[in-house]
């Protein structure tokens, strides 16, 4: 068995890196997390002509400075993990800029091969790239590929394996940076080589250039390892910097960037790149954008697309959701039929099946939503949305890139805040990122939808769709205004630069879509197996224990006895067998008995730990119109919003609340004296805006800090409560309730 080969994949964002990675590794990839840093790494395996290859997908970057986590992660991986070969994926239709990163790899001296991707797109644009010419000039292999179709990938890996096997002693690239800097570099290199300064990690010239670029990470390392040498080097650097600022009004960094591009230009002018058409010719993407980002049509098209996503998600997922709902109900009945009555059965059905079933039942909806989002993302349209929305979002202290996290968290309707919070990683400014992160939980995620459906369906039956729309708009308004509030007070700070690439429109690959959709859906499902399962059991326990005292149980049993003796014996036995298919008298008896059961269940609930907690909170919650039963459901919602409907059902002694067929719970609420339109809206407002669920809190804690996670819990709950109180009181006093 030949040795395993380690390869790394690196390149610009939008150059097709992920597509190539998926092509090579297929399903055999896993996403991990660098400890302590909010950047994922993707690692996959595949076999090529009998050799096992491990491929690490490095974050997409435009450069290798020390100014973003992605760049640091990529650079550290290259110098520490030392992969045997780096595959640098380069977009042929955008060659010049892509080669900027390539230059830096070459200066770092890593064993490299260029995968020249998107040659088909280049050809369409009349751009011809001579791969062998480029290879000759750069001194490394260049293999043309089309990652979408997989064309060229075999040859690519063949050559990559060859590079890995040669174990060259690579000569890092030498680019001239102009007289002043070149002279300084020679002096710096002399000093660095003399002291053996960081020479085990970086080539000496590379270190020199990094110092001239003011690279924080390397400078910090330098001071740590050899303070005297570091000081001397820094002095040399500052000398030339001062000189350059005085004479040419530029910093060394700018000169270095300019010369890199100068080097690139000289390369591509030597017969590498030819343009067949005029360079100001409009590409297909540009023509599409003329319409899509047009002043009038742009917003209209955007709203149309968002509406289409909304309709698609809801209508297509309706069938699978009801199937799953029926499946869960059937499962529930089977279990109920087979287990003896008692605590264990109650825990399994009321606790686990209803709690977890509520989450799983909605997976199809979430999955369709994520699929739609993946289409918008992979096609490039979402970048246009960020482009059009940036000006508006900036008013609220946010960024065009904040749109994605909002939509993922349920901005259209349904989603999940967990992938939403993770999606904020694209925001560079920490303050903007925090503001987005803290406000995405206000969106109507998939867990809140059943509650919205239940309450709107029960109290506003005539105008359901309008009210749903209204509450969606409200969630956006609250989110944006809170963001503005945060950004003006606790999160004041600078904005992320909006300098972004607008990638050409692309037809997404099905494989890419499915992988993207599954990644986010799986995050949602994991919730069910972990938190919700535990919480469902806990809530069940709190609602069951302590049970009624033996005296009270006896009293209810006696009531039932009294009823039974009032009916002839055969009716009694028939009732005991099948309570549903019985003649009128038996039905009447069944009804009477079930009322007694209901009363007993209610009293038991009042007596339980959850009930007592609910009762205790009633003294303040009543200002918002919430009675003790509602309180219990809301407390459960702290852990996971999905359990609110099932807990409410149990609290209203329905026992079995199928979240899809919550009409009967809805009817029960309609008839309940405590409930009216005012209470319903107050409850909705509270549920929409109070503390994020447990898992989101943990996610916020990981992405930001526990301080902010706790802030999110308390601020949101306080805000939601005040809002609910205000609304309820106004409704009550004006007689609307």
């Amino acid at each position: 068995m030949k040795d395993k080969i380690t390869m790394a994949l690196a390149g610009n964002p939008n150059a097709g890196k992920t597509t190539l990675f998926n092509q090579l590794t297929g399903a055999r990839q896993h996403v991990g997390n660098y400890p302590g840093i909010t950047v994922d790494y993707k690692e996959g395996r595949f076999v090529h002509t009998g050799r096992e290859i491990s491929l690490t997908d490095l974050p997409g970057t435009y450069s290798l400075t020390a100014y973003s986590v992605e760049e640091l992660v990529a650079r550290d991986y290259l110098v520490n993990a030392k992969p045997q070969v780096v595959i640098n994926i380069v977009d042929a239709s955008n060659l010049e800029r892509n080669l900027y990163l390539t230059c830096q790899f070459l200066e770092l001296g890593v064993p490299m091969i260029i995968a020249l991707n998107m040659i088909d797109v280049a050809k369409d644009r009349g751009i011809a790239v001579k791969a062998d010419r480029l290879a000759a000039l750069l001194g490394i292999p260049v293999v043309p590929i089309i990652a979408r179709t997989g064309q060229g990938k075999d040859r690519l890996i063949d050559e990559a394996v060859a590079v890995a096997a040669e174990k060259w002693n690579l000569q890092p690239l030498d680019i001239s940076y102009g007289d002043d800097l070149d002279e300084t570099i020679i002096n710096l290199v002399a000093e660095i080589e003399g002291e053996g300064f960081l020479t085990d990690t970086y080539p000496p010239r590379y270190t020199a250039i990094k110092y001239l670029e003011n690279d924080d990470q390397i400078m910090a390392r330098g001071r740590e390892i050899n303070p005297t040498a570091a000081e001397k080097i820094e002095a040399l650097v500052s000398q030339v910097s001062v000189h350059l600022v005085k004479t040419m009004d530029v910093f060394p960094e700018a000169i270095i960037a300019d010369h890199r591009y100068g080097f690139i230009k000289s390369i591509i002018r030597q017969g590498v790149l030819t343009h067949k058409f005029d360079t100001d010719r409009l590409y297909a993407s540009d023509r599409i954008d003329k319409i899509v980002t047009n002043r009038l049509l742009g917003p209209v098209i955007m709203l149309a697309i968002l509406f289409a996503v909304y309709t698609f998600t809801f209508s297509w997922s309706e069938l699978p959701v009801s199937w799953l709902g029926s499946l869960i109900s059937w499962f529930d009945e089977v279990i109920a039929g087979h287990l003896p009555d008692g605590l264990f059965k109650s825990m399994i059905t009321s606790g686990i099946i209803h709690g977890v079933g509520g989450v799983l039942g909605f997976v199809p909806l979430i999955m369709f939503m994520f699929f739609a989002i993946a289409i918008l993302e992979d096609s490039g349209y979402l970048a246009r949305v960020a482009f059009m929305m940036d000006r508006i979002f900036r008013i609220f202290g946010l960024h065009g890139s904040s749109v994605m996290p909002f939509i993922i968290s349920g901005g259209i309707a349904g989603g999940c805040a967990v992938p939403g919070v993770l999606a904020t990683r694209t925001l560079r400014s920490p303050k903007e990122r925090l503001a987005t992160l803290l406000t995405v939980p206000f969106m109507n995620c998939g867990a809140k939808l059943p509650v919205l459906a239940l309450l709107i369906g029960a109290f506003f039956t005539e105008n359901k769709a309008q009210y749903m729309f209204f509450f969606t708009v409200l969630s956006w308004a609250v989110a944006l205004l809170s963001a503005k509030f945060f950004r003006s007070t606790v999160l004041r700070g600078e904005s992320t630069p909006f300098v972004m690439e607008l990638p050409p429109y692309r037809f997404p690959t099905l494989q890419g879509l499915l992988i993207h959709t599954w990644e986010r859906t799986w995050q949602y499902i994991k919730k069910a197996g972990s938190v919700i399962l535990g919480i469902s059991i806990l809530i069940w326990a709190m609602m069951t224990f302590p049970g009624l005292s033996p005296n009270r149980i006896a009293a209810f049993d006696q009531q039932r006895q009294v009823v039974s003796t009032g009916f002839p014996a055969d009716i009694v036995s028939e009732t005991e067998e099948k309570r549903t298919a019985a003649p009128e008298q038996a039905a009447h008896m069944a009804e009477t008995l079930s009322i007694i059961d209901g009363n007993q269940a209610e009293e038991a609930l009042r007596n339980s730990a959850a009930g007592r907690l609910g009762m205790a909170l009633e003294s303040i919650s009543r200002y918002a119109g919430f009675d003790w039963r509602t309180n219990i459901a809301l407390i459960g919602g702290f852990a996971a919003k999905e359990v609110i409907v099932s807990t409410l059902g149990t609290a209203y002694s329905m026992g079995k609340v199928d979240t899809k067929k919550s009409a009967s719970l809805g009817q029960r609420l309609q008839q309940d004296p405590h409930w009216n339109k005012g209470v319903a809206v107050a409850a909705l407002l509270f549920i929409m805006f109070y503390s994020p669920c447990f898992i989101t809190i943990i996610c916020i804690a990981r992405e930001a800090s526990w301080r902010w996670a706790l802030f999110s819990m308390t601020f949101n709950t306080a805000f939601a409560f005040i809002l609910a109180i205000v609304f309820y009181q106004v409704a009550r006093l004006s007689g609307l309730g």
Binding site: E96, A257, D258, D280, R295, G298, F387, R428
Partner: protein, 76 residues
Amino acid sequence: METISLRKMKKGQSGLIAVVKSSGELGRRIREMGMIPGAEITVLGRAPLNDPVAVRVMDGTLTLRNNEADYILVHI
């Protein structure tokens, strides 16, 4: 041949970048995306609210806000 700020350029106008007057993170970002002195730049269009602006540089399409475009002076 005059030199104007990128913000003042009209849709469809082209020119060569004269100087990038920004430093720090923004300057770095602008430069690494290819907007360096001597590069050809064309304004493709602006967002519905006139901000940000989309430009063609080195075969790619980039977007930047007006207050960022202020730092880029172009010979037209």
